[in-house]
């Protein structure tokens, strides 16, 4: 075990990154494991919650599968968008680059995943699924998605923390990461555990949305509640992230810009819906 160059700073504990663990001699990624556990928990919770609509387990499974597909595609596409300069470079120099370089470059550009892309991809999948399958009503599906998303994110961020791919800024307190195999340069410095903080925020948001779901408050609009709460948490937490690879535009990260857009759109939708409902009520009274 290697001693850490702590310097003057003190950490709560020394954390050794475990991006991969050995199970029966087989290397397994902790991020994938956490994501898998998150998906399994989401499916179980969604199955219990769907008794209200008398949806079968198969319907929930297919619904979760559709969301999973949307999540994968959306997350990778948005990551590719943040690497747009490299993608443009590859397509501009197709004749000069070798086939191996093109393939490796494209895999590198679309290999990562961004949460907001996954979220939007999952949302698109919900709309497509409910259009072609009538097993789950759309408003109920959106409510279910609002409950499942923060729950999955709780496990996803724990996976990120163990993975050591994204990390917090240098701070006066926090965890001192060591043995980070993915990025050894960030090891040995006390950093704020921003992924764990985000995981905690997601847990709180999940509990709020679940409570509203169980008490049948804001039925059909729970996604709006989620989209009002999470972007605020994400916007603030982004300032404490130490990895700048996700793209910085005009001083704010891609996720912060998306947070602003989602919050504004949701607020505008809620205000517009309230005004429209009031006008409808007034018109009904006049009749």
């Amino acid at each position: 075990m290697r001693r850490l160059p702590f310097g003057k700073r003190r950490s709560f504990s020394e954390v050794y990154m475990y991006p991969q663990i050995e199970v029966f001699g087989r290397t397994i990624g902790v991020y994938g494991l956490c994501a898998m556990v998150g998906i399994a928990v989401c499916v179980v919770v969604a199955t219990f919650l769907s008794h209200r609509q008398e949806c079968s387990f198969e319907a929930i499974l297919l619904f979760s599968l559709a969301i999973g597909g949307g999540l994968l595609v959306g997350g990778h596409l948005l990551f590719g968008l943040t690497q747009i300069k490299t993608v443009a470079y590859i397509f501009a120099h197709l004749n000069e680059l070798s086939f191996r370089q093109i393939v490796h470059g494209l895999i590198a550009c679309f290999g990562g995943s961004v949460f907001y892309g996954g979220f939007l991809g999952g949302l698109a999948a919900v709309f497509i699924y409910t259009k072609y399958s009538k097993t789950i009503p759309r408003s109920f599906a959106l409510d279910l998605y609002a409950v499942m998303t923060p729950l999955f994110h709780v496990f996803g961020r724990i996976g990120c923390f163990f993975g050591g791919c994204c990390y917090g800024k240098e701070w006066s307190w926090g965890f001192c990461v060591a043995e980070n195999q993915i990025n050894p340069a960030v090891a040995g410095v006390v950093r704020i555990p921003v992924q764990l903080l985000e995981s905690g925020c997601n847990l709180i948001i999940f509990l709020i949305v679940l409570l509203l779901f169980l008490r049948r408050i804001y039925t059909g609009r729970l996604l709006c509640i989620y989209l009002l709460l999470y972007p605020i948490a994400r916007f603030v937490l982004e300032f404490y992230r130490g990895d700048a690879i996700r793209g910085i535009w005009f001083g704010l990260s891609t996720s912060q810009w998306i947070s602003i857009a989602l919050f504004m759109c949701t607020a505008a939708t809620l205000i517009w819906t309230a005004i429209w409902q009031r006008q409808k009520r007034t018109a009904t009274k006049n009749i």
Binding site: P19, Q20, T27, I28, G29, Y31, G32, L33, A35, M36, I39, A40, S56, E58, A59, L61, L62, L65, G68, G69, F79, Q83, K85, T86, Y89, I90, L97, Q101, H104, G105, I107, A108, C109, G111, G112, S113, C160, G163, G164, C165, C166, I182, N183, D243, I245, R246
Partner: protein, 128 residues
């Protein structure tokens, strides 16, 4: 003995139908699909997914087979339920596909861990 049987059958053949007998309607609903084909396909794809999950590059195909297996298994099971047919094959296909999908998913994400390693490979793959 055979002749007797033959005669008996002949008699039955020549027997007149009862008076209230009605010709079966040609527009009867076809027998309901019990989804057995879907269930077998799910089982096969699930087993393939479980096998391919073990290999690093092939687990991408394991992931695809697992997704297809779960979808087909769910459809087969729901069809069997509607047709009041046994759901054992569908359940087996679904369970095996879920296991294969999980293993392939974890295996797939073991390679493409997260943003950083991808960022590192960008600089190594291209000198942009």
């Amino acid at each position: 003995m055979n002749d007797q049987n033959f005669n008996t059958n002949d008699q039955n053949f020549n027997a007149q139908p009862p008076e209230n007998y009605q010709q079966p309607s040609p527009f009867l609903p076809p027998p309901q699909d019990s989804g057995k084909g879907f269930s077998i396909a799910a089982l096969v794809l699930g087993i393939l997914s479980c096998i391919l999950a073990w290999f690093y590059v092939a687990n991408i195909f394991g992931l695809i087979f697992g997704i297809l297996g779960v979808a087909l298994g769910a459809v087969g099971r729901s069809k069997a339920r509607v047709a009041n047919a046994p759901m054992g094959m569908g359940t087996a296909g679904l369970v095996v596909s879920i296991v294969g999908l999980s293993l392939s998913f974890v295996g797939f994400l073991t390679c493409t861990l997260c943003v950083w390693c991808v960022g590192e490979s960008i600089s190594s793959a291209l000198s942009v």
